[in-house]
């Protein structure tokens, strides 16, 4: 009886962990995952959504993941901006980031921009650091309401 119980429990557990592979929808979940990380070909030209700070001189400076998404995980910051662009609520996200930036008193920024930068990801590490395309989705002055630009 104990032996049968051991086999039933083990088979059920293994089937559960393997089941995401057989699922028609490849939407990832937790803790039963398809483990899709690093599996897709992202190509050399990559659109990277992010948010940046703009100084009084118009200089663009990088913000930390904490300022962008409220947590230190860079992948979550990336996912937050990506999802916001997809949902069309970049103005809200811009405002959230602006609030966090003001609260943390980090940087000397006059505005925050939610942007997508298109880079040759391999070329970047060989010196080609300018994005081939830059789309500003929302811009918000640190003391004014955000403007949706796209």
């Amino acid at each position: 009886m104990r032996r049968a119980w051991a086999y039933v429990v083990s088979l059920a557990a293994l089937a559960l962990v393997f089941s995401p592979v057989l699922r028609p929808s490849q939407r990832d979940s937790f803790p039963l995952s398809t483990y899709p990380m690093f599996s897709y070909d992202r190509g050399r030209q990559s659109a990277l959504p992010t948010a940046v700070g703009v100084t009084v001189d118009g200089e663009i400076q990088r913000l930390s993941p904490e300022l962008i998404s409220g947590g230190y995980e860079p992948v979550r910051a990336f996912a937050t901006v990506e999802a916001s662009i997809a949902k069309g609520d970049t103005a809200d996200l811009c405002r959230e980031i602006a609030e966090r930036t003001v609260k943390s008193r980090s940087g000397d920024f006059v505005a925050i921009e939610v942007v997508t930068e298109v880079h040759d990801v391999v070329g970047w590490f060989q010196g080609d650091k300018e994005p081939s395309q830059r789309v500003v989705h929302a811009r918000c002055a640190l003391d004014a309401d955000p403007v949706v630009t796209r």
Binding site: L14, F30, Y35, S39, R42, S46, L63, P74
Partner: protein
């Protein structure tokens, strides 16, 4: 059933139901519970930060998929405190039949909540699964307060301690196989022969740079050398799809466990991604003989206790 099938099953059965010392399962209880407890404590500030995000950023997954809105922060804090308390109780093996399942459930809920903010990470999955197996196993029959309270004689080797360890080992290797299948499904043979891995490493590091985070200088340097990546991709596929070899005995197991660990060290080196559960080796403990660690610690403690007495003589 043919004779061959019968023989194969009998061999599998004798290995799967093999008697192992109660101390092995108990050591796993201590290691995995300690990992989960420390992980929750270290992760708490992050969890509290993201719990305060606007509801629009909430995208529940898994067992919390039904939640319509984020939980109140006080509830997250209370659950975390409760989970840490259960974690401490599980480490020392206090009323483990209750505290073990409670730790497993609260760790599942907290890590699921952590992953319900528009991004699913893949760092705590295996720890959740291992805790679940331990929760329903007699993992506190040795090295525990429960054992001290009990009037039963010390637990020795038995099959009931063996199969949960084998199941934990199998779950470990299956997660690697699933990851390998995803790479073949989404990238095909091009994942090995093409530039997929190179682009991934370049993409991941540049993404960190545009998000103002720490990136890997080693990965950034390697990106210039395209020839490095097909062998690395092939090694990745061999390790992921070949992970079941770690269930064998002897040198094959040692080599495979070493290769799986090195794989995560390499990911840390070229992408600055920390898969903390495998990097601490706790993920591989079921594949090894973790009770040796407990034995070594106990004999050291015993030696220290004896030293003052002997020096007095």
């Amino acid at each position: 059933m043919s004779a061959l099938t019968r023989r194969t099953f009998d061999r599998f059965d004798s290995r799967f139901m093999e008697a192992v010392p109660a101390r092995r399962l108990a050591t796993l209880r201590i290691l995995v519970s300690a990992f989960a407890t420390v992980f929750l404590i270290v992760r708490s500030s992050y969890l509290f930060d993201i719990s305060g995000l606007p509801a629009a950023r909430f995208d529940p997954v898994g067992v919390l998929g039904w939640l319509g809105e984020p939980l109140p922060l006080w509830l997250v804090k209370c659950t975390l405190a409760f989970a840490v308390a259960c974690g401490c109780a599980s480490i020392v093996g206090w009323r483990y039949r209750v505290t073990g399942p409670l730790l497993a459930v609260s760790f599942l809920l907290l890590t699921t909540y952590d992953n319900s903010w528009q991004h699913v990470a893949h760092t705590e999955n295996l720890a959740v699964l291992h805790l679940a197996v331990l929760a329903f196993a007699p993992a506190a029959d040795a090295i525990s307060l429960d054992e001290r309270r009990s009037s039963r004689p010390a637990a020795g080797a038995h099959a009931r301690y063996g199969w949960p360890v084998r199941l934990m080992s199998m779950l470990t290797v299956v997660t690697y196989v699933v990851a390998g299948i995803a790479k073949q499904r989404n990238g095909g043979i091009h994942w090995i022969t093409g530039d997929v891995l190179r682009n991934q490493i370049a993409n991941d590091n540049l993404r960190k740079i545009v998000l103002g985070d720490t990136y890997s200088p080693l990965g950034a340097r390697m990106v210039a050398h395209a020839w490095l990546f097909p062998p690395m991709a092939l090694a990745t596929m061999v390790i992921e799809l070949g992970a079941p070899l770690a269930l064998l005995r002897g040198k094959v197991r040692t080599v495979m466990v070493g290769a799986m660990w090195m794989f995560h060290v390499a990911i840390l080196g070229v992408m600055a991604i920390v898969f903390i559960y495998p990097l601490t080796l706790v993920a591989y403990a079921p594949l090894l003989r973790p009770e040796r660690l407990a034995d070594a610690i106990e004999s050291r403690v015993r030696a220290r206790r004896l030293r003052p007495a002997s020096s007095a003589v």
